[in-house]
Symmetry: C2
DNA sequence: GTATATGCAAACCGTTTGCATGGCT
DNA sequence: AGCCATGCAAACGGTTTGCATATAC
């Protein structure tokens, strides 16, 4: 046996992360989670970009599973979906409230520093509703 | 002749609006513009909703033309496209800078009062870029 | 008369789903 | 064993496009 079931080993971040979402650590989920949070940095991916990232014979995950898994991660509260442009969905591993930079020429999406955005006045939610989320996307144009 | 070419008549808003965008006032464009700005109020439409709005035998416009025309209006600077949710594109006749309310349950999009949003601090645009637009979407959840 | 707009149907592209197979607990 | 996840291919829904026809200037 390579690994005893009850050996003492603190769970590695990936498995903890999945466990936190109540998701079983299947091979595919671990592979994808590794690509997403493996280096501890936040990532902004599309299904396609995540599918393409290192999909070798060993780490192969089907595109449908990438879609299903991203949805599962979002439903589990591990990631969030971001909408910046009608054609593609982006997924963000950073769950804290923060604005985004969106490059209009390359369609790249990255975090904008949360500390550098201050909304000092926000419209009241209309009667009978409450604010679930405020999305701020700062669209960037390359300066010539 | 029903109408002389050089008669003195101030252009009606619709034709002025189209002219401002450098667009020829074809029947379809006038019909769609009428649906959009006919009553002077701002509108948030999807291609489908605009297509459905009063498409009787007289005012019939094909769906493809609705799509092409919305794109033409946007390219002409008469409207803007708003992205709130991956599946559909919304188009807004209000060209001023303003936030939006988005009802998560009904997918309805409306203007939020511009005067009630104040951003007192905004992240600097990264080197070599400039901010083209800041999109603020306030997502609403129905309170029970 | 010429350039441009329209309409239809087919193509397109990102995403979801049905269903048979395989894996986790 | 039983439930849940995976993979493929087919379905799907919104949007775009190619091309023949019609319209504005």
């Amino acid at each position: 046996m390579v690994k005893s079931e009850n050996q003492h080993t603190s769970l590695e971040p990936i498995e903890m992360w999945l466990k936190r979402g109540g998701l079983r650590p299947t091979r595919q989920r671990v592979v994808l989670a590794e690509r997403l949070i493996g280096d501890g940095k936040n990532r902004h991916v599309t299904a396609e970009s995540l599918f393409a990232a290192g999909n070798d014979f060993r780490n192969k995950v089907s595109l449908a599973t990438v879609y299903n898994t991203l949805r599962a991660f979002c439903d589990a509260g591990l990631m969030r979906e971001i909408t910046v442009n009608g054609s593609k969905s982006y997924f963000d591993t950073n769950m804290t409230d923060h604005p985004h930079f969106f490059w209009e020429d390359t369609s790249q999406l990255v975090d904008a520093p949360a500390g550098e955005l201050k909304i000092s006045l926000l419209p009241d939610a209309p009667e009978g509703t409450e604010i679930s989320k405020v999305d701020v996307v700062i669209r960037l144009r390359r300066k010539f």
